[in-house]
């Protein structure tokens, strides 16, 4: 049997479709291994479905490489961080630490948003205050935000720590007080009569630009070297800040862009590889094992067992899969293992029917009759004499069944019945479809996941095609 399988594999590798299919599969397995080592096992619950993990990403933006095809230069997403102060000033009453973050801004548009975060603040006696300023390339400085760290609560003892597990975060673009500060800056420096209210959501255009009546938005981007200054004023030498962060929201992000929650689609897509392969292969292997076993028993034993198994698989294989799959997933709950179990339950009968018809041919062969005459038991004949003759065909059937399982799960996920704790390509598509990404042309959200589903299914179709000649030797002569 081992030789048969080896012959099958070498035959597979001589055909072009087989070669392409196997190469695709190898790439997929490598990506899957990377995805499983680079991500935590509870990726879905802890990262993917946790909006806080993606808060600092721009929303609904295309992949970074699309900038290459644009005439204007779009903003690159940048996260500026500091853990150590760049400058320390001491006076009798305060210790002032300045965290300076340098930002090169050569872009033709304002950032899509800006945000400021503070992590892990510790103080001994009285809470520190933090202020945020931006020094612009034209020598002007905008004061944007002031924060008084919350004072000790009753019953707390020093040292007090704040923003330890969840950082303090302010979305500067949408913050009314920031808009007020920016309006004051405009009035003082340019004499422009901008109202505070009208700047909410447009703060970045004012901070990273100069007033320009000719342009549509009222501002012209100001290119050059910016410096973001975070000044913390402490009362005690031992007080500290763990980390300050300033995010300049890009109009493009990463390899694959982001969705409406700011999630990095590339990470979700990569995580989809091991999930899709698991669903396809696990279902195919289990369905094949059950189907082959019952098919051989049914074909070789005959009689009542045969009729029973055949009637049962006839009924099961005639049930329209998708409605039942939807029903069961809807009622039993959205768990991936339930979906796989259902796919196996409805997958094996088709295999049983085909295998049985092949066993009927082999059963009357001389090899089997000779073994029976020599007194071999029925199980031995089925296992040692019938199964080996079927092996290549069984293997081909298994490969052939794999894409069906992957496509069924993708369809189910697309209808919103996917397992929410395990992100799949179908689910990404579902979210894109439901939030209307299709109708506004967010192609980076709906095109790649579908393409990956098709490529994965195609991989197995190609391998199955490459095996066709192994299974059906007549085809070897047809091709010339």
């Amino acid at each position: 049997m081992r030789e048969r399988l080896r012959a099958t594999l070498s035959e597979l590798l001589t055909s072009t479709t087989g070669k392409v299919g196997v190469a695709f599969l190898a790439v997929m397995v490598l990506i899957s291994i990377y995805a499983l080592t680079a991500n935590p096992v509870d990726f879905g619950d802890r990262l993917w479905n946790n909006p806080a993990a993606w808060a600092d990403n721009p929303k609904n933006v295309p992949p970074a490489w699309t900038g290459l095809f644009q005439s204007t230069r779009p903003v690159t997403h940048s996260v500026l961080e500091a853990t150590e102060p760049t400058e320390t000033r001491e006076s009798t009453r305060f210790v002032e630490r300045v965290y300076a973050l340098d930002l090169d801004f050569p872009y033709d548009e304002a950032p899509t948003f800006t945000s400021f975060s503070l992590e892990d603040v510790t103080y001994q006696e009285r809470p520190p205050s933090v202020s945020l300023e931006v020094a612009r390339p034209d020598g002007r400085t905008v004061s944007l935000y002031r924060l008084a760290v919350p004072a000790p609560r009753a019953g707390e003892s020093p040292p007090y720590s704040r923003y330890e597990s969840t950082p303090f975060r302010v979305h500067l673009t949408g913050e009314p007080s920031v808009a007020g500060e920016a309006a004051a800056f405009l009035r003082e420096e340019f004499g422009a009569g901008a109202q505070g209210g009208s700047l909410i959501g447009r703060v970045d255009e004012a901070v990273f630009g100069t007033p320009d009546a000719a342009s549509e938005s009222g501002f012209r981007p100001l290119q050059g070297e910016y410096r973001v200054l975070v000044t913390a004023r402490f009362r005690d030498e031992a007080d500290s800040i763990g980390r300050v962060r300033f995010v300049v929201g890009g109009s493009q992000f990463g390899l694959m862009g982001t969705d409406s929650l700011g999630r990095d689609l590339a990470r979700g897509l990569v995580f989809g590889f091991p999930v899709a392969l698991t669903i396809g292969l696990l279902t195919a292997i289990m369905a094949t094992v059950i189907g082959t076993t019952l098919g051989i028993i049914s074909g070789y034993t005959g009689g009542k067992t045969d009729i029973g198994i055949q009637r049962f698989s006839d009924v099961l294989s005639n049930i329209p899969l998708l409605p039942i799959l939807l029903f069961l997933a809807f009622i039993l709950g959205q768990k991936l293992w339930i979906v796989i179990a259902i796919l196996i339950l409805f997958g094996w009968p088709g295999m049983t029917i085909v295998i049985r018809s092949m066993v009927l041919q082999v059963r009357s062969g001389q090899l089997v009759e000779a073994s029976a005459a020599l007194g071999a038991s029925r199980w031995r004949i089925m296992l040692r004499h019938i199964f080996p003759q079927m092996a290549p065909f069984v293997f081909a059937q298994m490969i052939f069944f794999t894409p069906a399982a992957i496509l069924a799960e993708a369809g189910l996920s697309f209808l919103g019945l996917g397992d929410p704790s395990i992100p799949t390509w179908g689910q990404i598509l579902d979210q894109g479809f439901r939030t209307g990404a299709v109708y506004v042309g967010y192609w980076w959200w709906v095109f790649p996941p579908g393409l990956l589903i098709v490529l994965t299914a195609l991989t197995f179709v190609l391998i199955a095609l490459g095996m066709e000649r192994v299974v059906d030797p007549r085809l070897r002569t047809v091709r010339q």
Binding site: V315, N318, F327, I331, L415, L417, F433, Y439, F447
Partner: protein, 354 residues
């Protein structure tokens, strides 16, 4: 085996399918407690209706409550809510068969009725229209191209068609639909022309008059029909081509040619006549996916048929509608399957006379 017996066996199997689905649906509903919730909802609905009626005649609040309580107990007994779920199985199966599943929670027909039977009666023709049109076009195209390709096996067009068939096996109809919608959007944003609507069945508001209305319907149906045809025509062509090719190598075809029959007659009455039954088998096998696939395609194109209804029922967590639709989809499939089995016997004399 006589025709009657063959048909009886196939019929029995398909009835078995229907019954198996029913039992599975009802047992799942019962064992998970869903059927209790469904029946309780029906009882609550009836008691609420009764309260409004009785409040007119019984003024005393205590007496009203007592009367309602009595009535509720009566109702619960008649629905079997006071017994364990498995003792209700036969009754529940009966309700599903009669589609007597009460009202949908939020879904409504165009006339505003929320009865599940009315909903199905409204949606079923729309789904049938879409699926049958697409199947008909696919079958015609498949036959035409399949026969053409069978005469030039191994040519470049044959290889392209084979590759196309293999690819469309891996291409889900719903994603193909999404791509087409995306494409119409791109055309709209670059050229300012709306080639096809992104979804729905009529424009809003629908045009007046018979002909404009029909044209509007066709305009909306075009994209889903194109999608359904595009993804199934490849494998269908391939099936026809392979069957015709295999038959064309048989001796009796050579004999027919040797007799000097024109090629068209050989194809029509010798090759196609013999290849018809296996081609029909291909159609039967393809049916399952096209019926179930309507759920996904209609969802993508917002086509208000049974498939879209299924999606909406899932979104609004309406188990009664989901049950009714699961049953209906199985029923349609089984009916279509049986019709094809009968057709098969008509087409294949070997089944008739053996």
């Amino acid at each position: 085996m006589s025709i009657a017996k063959t048909l009886a066996i196939r019929g029995a199997t398909l009835v078995g399918v229907l019954f198996a689905v029913l039992v599975m649906v009802v047992v799942t509903l019962g064992a998970t407690g869903f059927s209790d919730r469904m029946l309780t909802a029906i009882v609550n609905e009836e008691v609420r209706g009764l309260r409004q009626g009785l409040a007119q005649t019984i003024r005393d609040a205590d007496r009203l409550e007592a009367a309602l309580r009595d009535h509720r107990q009566e109702l619960e007994a008649s629905y079997g809510l006071d017994r364990p779920w498995y003792s209700r199985l036969p009754q529940m199966i009966g309700r599903v068969i009669r589609l007597d599943l009460g009202e949908a929670r939020t879904l409504k027909t165009a006339e505003g009725s929320s009865s599940i039977t009315a909903l199905l009666r409204e949606r079923l023709p729309r789904t049938m229209m879409l699926v049958t049109t697409a199947s008909f076009i696919t079958a015609c195209l498949g036959l035409f191209f399949g026969v053409k390709l069978a005469t030039r096996v191994g040519s470049r067009s044959d290889r392209v068609a084979s590759l196309f068939a293999a690819t469309s096996n891996a291409l889900p109809a719903w994603w193909a639909g999404i791509l087409l919608i995306l494409l119409t959007y791109v055309i709209l944003s670059t050229f300012g022309v709306r080639v096809f609507p992104p979804g729905g069945m009529y424009s809003a508001p629908p045009p007046e008059g018979g002909l404009p209305r029909l044209l509007d319907l066709l305009w909306h149906a075009a994209l889903p029909v194109i999608t359904l045809t595009l993804i199934s025509v490849g494998s269908w062509t391939y099936v026809v081509r392979t069957m015709v090719m295999n038959t064309a190598q048989e001796d009796f075809v050579t004999v027919a040619r040797a007799k000097g029959l024109p090629e068209s007659a050989v194809m029509r009455s010798h090759i196609l006549r013999v290849a018809a039954p296996p081609i029909l088998t291909g159609l039967i096998l393809g049916l399952a996916s096209s019926v179930g696939g309507a759920i996904l395609t209609e969802t993508v194109f917002n086509w208000p048929g049974m498939g879209r209804l299924y999606y909406d029922a899932i979104l609004s967590v309406d188990e009664s509608v989901v049950v009714a639709l699961t049953f209906m989809f199985t029923l349609i499939y089984v009916t279509a399957r049986f019709t094809l089995e009968v057709l098969y016997i008509v087409v294949d004399p070997r089944v008739r006379y053996s």
